[in-house]
């Protein structure tokens, strides 16, 4: 997912046709004259994907989480998710998009973007953004909206970790700070680049350079274009749709939050059974459906690779649902619905970074592998260490995200059915297979995981502390007993 500086003048289809009719050869210099226009199929797909990702948050995630809490806290979860989405989307158009997807200043650019798109300045219906393909663009407004939904859902994932005990005001302040200081920088680090056409143009210039001096200048220019990217992007980390940016990032922030807020009153003593697994199942299903927008939408275009990402998302999820089921059946004696849907979510998380890179059989294996690992964390590790990660944000999203991120480095291998790495320099103007060494790629992936764990883990800890010292993180004991719905929101979820 990458952004290209928008182009001022986008020609209509008629313009293209006129150009085609002009009789002149389809020469490279001519091509440079015509700014690419978005394909309407791509635009349609990207907008649909955006709507799907919104549906993942509300009602999807809200229900998935809400069903798992006790009746008395149902509305608090729904409210938190709904308001996070609202708050972050406003922040996003104000400055989030700009900080994430524009060029930042100097060396800072590796970590954070700049202010050129603050308040969406200069963005019109004609502005375009780059895709993964040379010469293919999408409306920048659509791209901005698509990315907005990622910024919305990521902090919403966190709240599951400290559900049933946090103050609503603390959630809002935390999220405001967290997206600004943790999410935007990490998303910039992973996803910001100059786009394939900038690389192609620079590579072409290099190829066209004749004397040594010109070659040097051109090489420097190409290096500058390649260096105009986020830190992890420069490293070569692969994260198709947000394994690090979204899941590890949110998962570790959740764990830290769970630790810092402490356990729920009565945790381990009183029964805290999910109040409505029906809602959880609806939520999980909508997450599955919406995740096609998340993963396949991340290809930005509607082509064969999009279909591949779609298939991978489908298959990994199904495989993970099954493998959780069988592991649970074998070890606990019964196959539970909550197990299946937890597995499905784990599969979705794991396949996120890999979705456009792995082949379907690779995705299937990834799905089979991720569930046992997550199962082990939520049912053994958590009990052993005794932290109260209420809805298993760490156990499912962080662990699943790590397995997916590292697995991506493996499954991208062409000899494992993956699509390999793409180079935009070898044949300027068309992506072509780049060099791939598994060990090297896995190492890069591990670096990206660690970078995210540290940045988000430490950063979140500081933010929690800050809020705890000022407005306070946690509701009073009585309010918690009564339930956050009544104590924080003055409502009850059900009046049957």
């Amino acid at each position: 997912m990458y952004r290209l500086p928008s182009r001022g003048a986008a020609l209509g289809l008629a313009g293209l046709a006129l150009f085609l009719m002009s009789g002149s050869a389809f020469a490279e210099d001519a091509a440079a004259v015509v700014a690419p226009v978005p394909n309407k199929g791509d635009t349609a797909w990207l907008l649909v994907s955006t709507a799907l990702v919104l549906m993942m948050s509300v009602p999807g995630l809200a229900l998935f989480y809400g069903g798992l809490v006790r009746t008395k806290n149902m509305l608090s979860v729904l409210s938190q998710v709904f308001m996070i989405v609202s708050l972050v989307s406003v922040i996003w158009v104000l400055y989030g998009y700009s900080l994430t997807f524009t060029e930042g200043g100097g060396t800072l650019n590796a970590f954070i973007g700049g202010f050129s798109r603050v308040f969406l300045k200069g963005m019109t219906p004609d502005s375009t953004a780059a895709t993964f393909s040379n010469g293919v663009v999408v409306p920048e407004l659509a791209y901005m909206a698509f990315q907005m939904t990622f910024a919305c859902i990521t902090p919403a994932l966190i709240v599951g970790a400290f559900a049933e005990r946090i103050k609503f005001s603390a959630v809002l302040v935390f999220v405001l700070l967290w997206v600004t200081l943790i999410y935007f920088p990490i998303a910039h680090s992973v996803w910001y680049w100059a786009g394939p056409d900038a690389i192609a143009d620079a590579a072409k210039a290099l190829a066209a350079a004749t004397d040594d001096a010109a070659k040097k200048v051109a090489q420097d220019a190409l290096d500058a274009v390649n260096a105009n990217a986020g830190y992890l992007q420069q490293l070569g980390a692969l994260d198709f749709a947000g394994g690090t940016v979204v899941h590890i990032n949110a998962g570790i922030a959740g764990l830290v939050g769970a630790l810092m807020l402490g356990k729920r009153v009565g945790y381990g003593r009183e029964a805290m059974a999910p109040h409505s697994l029906t809602m959880t199942m609806i939520g999980a299903s909508l997450l599955w459906v919406g995740w096609f927008g998340f993963n396949a939408g991340s290809n930005l275009e509607a082509n064969g690779t999009t279909a591949l990402a779609f298939v991978n998302t489908f298959v990994a999820t199904a495989a993970a649902a099954m493998s959780w089921l069988f592991v649970e059946w074998a070890t606990k004696g019964k196959p539970s619905l909550l197990g299946m849907v937890s597995g499905a979510v784990a599969g979705l998380v794991a396949v996120t970074p890999a979705s456009g890179y792995a082949g379907p059989m690779g995705a299937l294996v990834l799905g089979l592998v991720v569930s046992p690992a997550c199962f082990f964390f939520v049912s053994t590790v958590k009990n052993k260490f005794g932290y109260d990660d209420a809805l298993d944000v760490f156990g499912v999203h962080c662990i699943g995200g790590i397995i997916g991120a590292i697995g991506t480095g493996i499954l991208v291998a062409p000899y494992l059915g993956g699509v390999g790495l793409t180079s935009y320099e070898i044949k300027p103007g068309a992506g072509s297979p780049g060099e791939y060494v598994m060990a090297a790629q896995v190492l890069i992936q591990i670096k990206a995981v660690l970078y995210t764990l540290v940045w988000s883990g430490v950063g979140s800890a500081i933010l929690y502390k800050l809020i705890d010292l000022t407005i306070g993180l946690r509701v009073g004991k009585d309010a918690e007993r009564e339930g956050l719905d009544v104590s924080e929101h003055g409502e009850r979820a059900y009046n049957y």
Partner: protein, 112 residues
């Protein structure tokens, strides 16, 4: 008068109601309750957390009857609610001092 309270298995309600009607009872009040007793419950597992559920769904029937009908009613309940398996429930009989029909203000056996 007596007030008879019986805790029964939920799916026995219709049979008990029919038996009571046959025994001459014209009204009763039913409450959904959870029972704890010799009948063992089950275990529920939600991800990592296991809960032993020892409270089982039961129905509580309350029926006020003239004293002379009490024994017959108790027998009718026993006969209709029994499955022979643990957890069939209990019947408790207490004395009732007064009964009033709200609609008419009728008192005692007239009110039943």
């Amino acid at each position: 008068m007596k007030i008879i309270m019986a805790v029964i298995k939920p799916f026995k309600l219709d049979e008990v109601r029919d038996a009571l009607t046959a025994a001459g009872v014209h009204g009763l009040t039913v409450t959904e309750v959870k029972g704890y007793g010799r009948q063992k419950g089950h275990t529920e597992i939600y991800r990592g957390a296991e809960y032993a559920v020892s409270f089982l769904p039961k129905l509580k029937i309350e029926v006020a009857v003239p004293t002379e009908l009490a024994a017959k009613v108790v027998d009718a309940i026993v006969a209709s609610a029994r499955t022979g398996q643990i957890g069939d429930g209990k019947i408790f009989v207490s004395s009732l001092e007064q009964a009033v029909r709200i609609r008419t203000g009728e008192k005692d056996t007239d009110a039943l």
